[in-house]
Amino acid sequence: MTDPRPAEGMSPTSQVVEGMPAVVRIGERLDAAEVPAIRAKLDELIGSGARHLNVDLSDTVFIDSAGLASLVRAMITLRRRGGDLELVRPRAQEAWRVFKLTQFDTVFTIHDSLPAGTGTA
């Protein structure tokens, strides 16, 4: 019998692309299992003084409320500091649906692709 779960430590996770402002690229899933790693990454960037962050969801196919909450939390913190957390829209309709259902598509600043002047891969 095969175990469909990904092995520990093999799960897709965030990747920071060098440049200004920093871009955090999310893997296929932004779910509760991924949240601790992504939250730690966002906290680390915010803690090191970042005011503007981009989160690239282009490749993300599954986002749950916990994943969404981790983005909302960072966005609130950054806006309080006069900055913002901006998103690159997920290509997958399944992942985009969460933003429509919660109407967070009207709350976040959302781009179709990475804005110019941000880090390149």
Partner: protein, 612 residues
């Protein structure tokens, strides 16, 4: 010097042996007694007519000077002999120390070492000899010949002590190597007679002997490691080949479902199943060859081959003849090697639901019906015990949704960390709740329950499970059949929901986008259970799906704390708030969500509908 002091004669002896003489001492021996002075082992005697005090002083001074000279000379000599004198020797010593013996064959090590040893010890020939034979040599051919011959006569294997070898042209030294892995060997060295081996050479020999011995040991270990790796690799390949005789896909027949698995405890094992389909009948066998690992697997392949032959030789009404043939084919072989094999052989006719089985010592075998469970006990001993068949076939009539479940004792004997077995009772109890479910679902849940029971304790035996379900579950009315999954209560495990859901619903949801909605909805429900019902602790969630045209119903059961709606109000869509979106999402994704506390269980019901 002595004359100026009035000394007429003098004699110097070391250890009772005269080493130097001044003037005619012999003639003086009889006359006056000499003045004697000792310094270390040195005795200085002087004769003379001068003032006795002067003579005594002279003797002392003489002795001291000579003593000093001897000491310096011998220290220097020792230094020369022990230390490496020339650049070449330094290079050799470095080469010996750097020899990567761990990556070479023994022969190559010997080949590289001998010239270095020769260089370091200033020997004209060097050889490695075994107890009976010369292993390898290097140097001047004549000296080598002498060396091998002289070395062969020495008995060094029993006492392990060094020997001096003497000859007319050469002088030699035999130095046994204190190796632990390599075959016993000794280094033999030859020098010309002008440069005999001294005690001071032995320090260097001690070092070299140790280095050569460990380099040769390392080479042997390296070879052993390579050999073992090859054996392991061959074992692995053979195991895979043996395991590959198991059918790779369950049989496909209309009107029934079959799911099967065999997980060997090692890379191969004695458990097996096999099947064949002919004329609308499924022929099957599940068994267990005594023992584990490759030896059991090799016997297992032979049993499968015999089954295949028996299936091919007989019709569906000849189960007893099939088993007779198996007994006759396998008894001589199994009795010869002293092994036996439990086996349940059967035929199943999905059109009528009639099953015939003949159980030769195999368990567990269970028939799961809507109103209870029947065991199918053995009617004869395992194959290999008796030369002929002694039991009779039994006929079982399966109804819609009934299950024939054939496992192996590796399932029921799975231990948990406290040493408790999964057990037959537990297997029956779990199966009783799975009646009517698709074979694949039953099979997955049983394997998962056994795995959960083990909680990380490795299986001590092979685990095999074949589930035959009478009737195609996809055709069943939704109130009779559900497909279940058991999830562990952690976030990572929730990723199993998507693939499970896709398998259950396939393309029967009307709209392909509905699958994603259902996954997210159930995912949010389960996240809520993980976080709030089990509060991050261990637990299980059992989800069952009932699918019908135009609707799907899910039921989730868990035994965590009862659900209490959060005090915080539901979030307003579009207003940034961190928590509370889970249930809001579920409500938007499906048509209805309801909650009920039943006994100590939380029961959630989720329904999604569409125009069929």
């Amino acid at each position: 010097l002595l004359a100026s002091l009035g000394v007429q004669a003098a004699r110097l002896s070391l250890g009772g042996k005269q080493i130097a003489q001044f003037a005619a001492a012999d003639e003086l021996l009889g006359s006056a007694p000499p003045f004697r002075f000792r310094s270390g082992g040195l005795l200085c005697e002087v004769w003379g007519s001068a003032d006795p005090g002067l003579l005594r002083a002279a003797a002392a001074q003489f002795a001291a000077v000579v003593d000093q000279m001897i000491e310096t000379a011998s220290a220097h000599q020792e230094l020369i002999a022990t230390l490496v004198e020339t650049q070449d020797q330094m290079v050799s010593l470095y080469a010996v120390a750097q020899l990567q013996a761990g990556s070479m064959e023994l022969d190559e090590v010997d080949q590289r070492l001998l010239p270095l040893v020769s260089q370091l010890t200033r020997s004209i020939a060097v050889a490695l000899v075994g107890p009976d034979t010369a292993i390898r040599s290097w140097g001047e051919p004549d000296a080598v010949r002498w060396l091998v011959e002289a070395g062969a006569g020495q008995d060094w294997t029993t006492n392990g002590r060094w020997h001096r070898l003497s000859g007319e042209v050469y002088t030699g030294l035999l130095w046994p190597l204190a190796g632990r892995r390599a075959e016993p060997a000794a280094l033999v060295l030859a020098r010309s007679l002008e440069l005999p081996f001294r005690t001071t050479d032995f320090k260097l020999m001690g070092f070299l002997g140790g280095t050569v011995a460990s380099a040769r040991d390392a080479a042997v270990l390296h070879q052993e490691a390579i050999r073992n790796a090859k054996i392991e690799q061959e074992h692995e390949v053979t195991s895979r080949l043996a395991q590959a005789v198991l059918p790779s896909h369950p049989p496909k027949l209309p009107g029934c479902e079959v799911a099967e698995v065999c997980i060997p405890a090692r890379s191969a094992g004695g458990d097996f199943y096999t099947h064949a389909v002919a004329g609308g009948t499924l022929f099957f066998a599940v068994g267990d060859v005594a023992g584990k690992g490759l030896p059991a697997a090799l016997v297992m392949t032979k049993v499968i081959a015999a089954c295949t032959a028996a299936f091919a030789a007989h019709g569906p009404q000849s189960l007893e003849e099939m088993v007779s043939q198996l007994c006759e084919t396998l008894y001589p072989y199994l009795a010869d090697i002293g092994l036996f094999a439990t086996i349940l052989v059967g035929t199943y006719h999905p059109a009528s639901g009639e099953v015939q089985v003949l159980n030769a010592g195999h368990s567990p075998t269970l028939v799961v019906r809507a109103d209870g469970i029947d065991q199918v006990p053995p009617v004869m001993p395992p194959l290999g015990v008796l030369p002929t068949r002694t039991g009779a076939a039994r006929t079982i009539q399966l109804g819609e949704g009934d299950l024939l479940v054939i496992g192996s004792d590796g399932l029921t004997e799975q231990e948990n960390p406290d040493g408790e077995l999964f057990g037959y009772d537990r297997l029956e109890h779990e199966l009783a709740q799975l009646h009517g479910q698709p074979a694949d679902s039953v099979h997955r849940q049983v394997m998962r329950l056994v795995e959960m029971h083990g909680a990380g304790v490795p299986a001590s035996d092979d685990q095999t499970l074949m589930v035959i379900r009478h009737g195609d579950s996809q055709e069943l009315a939704p109130d009779r059949s559900g497909s279940s999954i058991i999830l562990e209560a952690n976030h990572l495990a929730l990723r199993e929901l998507g693939p499970w859901l896709a398998g259950v619903c396939q393309d029967r949801l009307g709209d392909p986008g509905r699958l994603g909605k259902l996954e997210l909805g159930l995912h949010e429900l389960c996240t809520n259970i993980v976080d709030h019902s089990y509060r991050g602790g261990p637990g299980r969630i059992r989800i069952t799906a009932w699918l019908q045209p135009g609707a799907v119903r899910f039921e989730s059961r868990d035994v965590g704390v009862a659900f209490v709606p959060g005090p915080a109000g539901r979030p307003e869509p579009g207003i940034a708030q961190i928590r509370g979106y889970g249930l809001m999402l579920i409500e938007q994704l499906v048509d209805s969500v309801s909650y009920e506390r039943v006994g100590d269980e939380n029961v959630w019901t989720v329904i999604s509908r569409w125009e069929p």
